[in-house]
């Protein structure tokens, strides 16, 4: 039986809004295979509240999942928000009484998350030049946040990451010389270990909300958060697959390395070498390439029959084209 989210939201509006509160403007905003986002409002009892529900729509396996649970996500948003990072306000973490499964409610933030628009829409022309520096500043705030206790976040380092993705790559059985060379090259260039910090884990254009005047207004999608090398978050936003057609602007398709690094240092982050960011950027392309292969495999093995999966498999070639150039350039 499918859960009637609108009915459950109506109950939730009463619970959160109190006497006289009612649900308004409820509608699904987006939905992937395992996560749904709903917009809704509470009216009637006080000032109108515009809210977002984020809920898991497929069973979650905490043992095997790379992602954290939604209550952990909410705790991370609260903790980083307390350090000044721009995040939505967490209004409520759902429990059994809500009947919504694993879910939480946050305040609605207005802005743009579509990477392509941030990179190329003239609406963002005026603010675009400031975004890389802001990303650096915000990463410094996130990395300065003490990991909330009891969350059992995974710790990831570069060698562990290479081992994990190489194991997945071998299991898939796709012979791809460029990926092989990238694994070998990165293993020879593993940077010295870093002081490990709380990372967002999926900090890229597409998971960030931007306002055309204020710039970065919210960091979203915390499900891959973990403990690791701060340069990992920086390398991921520089990975070309998230530059949306502007490879000439290495940070998210909107900015330059120097601004990202300067913003980070200015906001109190321990300065990071560009070579270290480039290591994680190359690992980012390799990681995305292996992830594309696993998308295909999930289709081949029947776990997921959507046509989207095998087509994402064909995106391996974008990472190969990027990796060849990075291998030519060196770190």
């Amino acid at each position: 039986m499918t859960l009637d989210v609108a009915v459950a939201l109506s109950r939730l509006a009463h619970r959160l809004g109190g006497e006289g509160a009612r649900l308004a403007d409820a509608g699904r905003l987006s939905g992937g295979a395992s996560m749904e986002t709903w917009g809704f409002a509470i009216e009637g009892a006080g000032p109108r509240e515009d809210l977002i529900l984020r809920r898991r729509s497929a069973p979650f396996d905490p043992e095997n999942a790379r992602s954290v649970g939604l209550s952990t996500e909410a705790a991370l948003i609260r903790a980083t928000g307390a350090r000044g990072a721009p995040v939505p306000s967490v209004r409520h973490v759902c429990d059994d009484a809500d009947g919504l499964g694993e879910a939480y409610v946050m305040g609605r933030v207005d802005g743009e998350t579509l990477g392509k628009r941030i990179v190329s829409d003239p609406r963002f022309d005026a603010v675009r030049g400031k975004l890389a520096r802001q990303c650096g500043e915000v990463l410094a705030q996130i990395h300065a946040t003490p990991p909330p206790p009891d969350l059992n976040l995974k710790t990831v380092d570069s060698v562990g990451e290479l081992d994990r993705y190489e194991e997945v790559y071998r299991a898939v059985g796709a012979g791809r010389p460029i990926l092989e060379l990238a694994f070998q090259y990165l293993r020879k260039h593993v940077p010295e270990s870093a002081e490990l910090k709380l990372l967002h884990g999926d900090f890229r254009n597409g998971n960030l909300m931007f306002d055309q005047e204020k710039g970065l207004v919210a960091v979203l999608d915390w499900e891959l958060s973990h403990i690791g090398d701060p340069a990992e978050d920086m390398g991921w936003i520089c990975t070309n697959s998230w530059r949306f057609g502007r490879p000439d602007r290495p940070v998210g398709g909107f900015g330059d390395y120097a601004d990202l690094l300067a913003g980070y240092a200015a906001a109190g982050g321990r300065p990071i070498d560009l070579a270290r960011v480039r290591f994680w950027q190359m690992l980012g392309s390799l990681r995305w390439g292996v992830m594309c292969l696993t998308m295909y495999v999930s289709w081949r093995d029947g776990a997921e029959k959507s046509v989207e999966r095998p087509m994402i498999g064909r995106r391996v070639s974008e990472t190969e084209a990027d990796l060849v150039t990075l291998l030519e350039q060196g770190l």
């Binding site: 939905g31 046509v307 974008e318 084209a321």
Partner: protein, 123 residues
């Protein structure tokens, strides 16, 4: 082999039809239909460009490995020698060969993708 229509023409016809019905679909299916139309376009490109791309890859890998062979055999040996550390970024001819192979694959899979190092749009 078969013409009137050729395979890529069949793929094109299906892609056009998918695009025609797309506006009548719900958002999720409209998205998947767009993906399906792109898949048909990829099939069309692979049929028309694939044989030449494979021949170039075979020639490039043969040069690096110093022997002839099928695409599958050369690709497997190349992977094995890179994995074993015999071939590295310093190996003469390796990166140029890989660049040819990557560019040809990208032209089939995602011709609009702007890879690392590509110039900014001129407009």
């Amino acid at each position: 082999m078969i013409t009137h229509p050729r395979t890529e023409e069949l793929a094109e016809a299906v892609a056009v039809w998918i695009d025609q019905i797309r506006p009548s679909l719900d958002p999720r299916n409209a998205f998947l239909a767009r993906v399906a139309a792109k898949a048909m376009a990829t099939i069309g490109r692979e049929i028309t460009q694939g044989p030449a791309a494979e021949a170039r890859a075979v020639a490039a890998m043969s040069d690096v490995l110093g022997r002839d062979g099928t695409y599958e055999a050369l690709n497997a040996e190349l992977c094995a020698r890179i994995r074993a550390g015999e071939f590295t970024v310093e190996t003469p001819g390796l990166l140029p060969a890989l660049r040819i192979m990557a560019a040809d694959r990208l032209a089939i899979d995602q011709p609009s993708y702007k890879p690392e190092g590509a110039p900014p749009p001129s407009s």
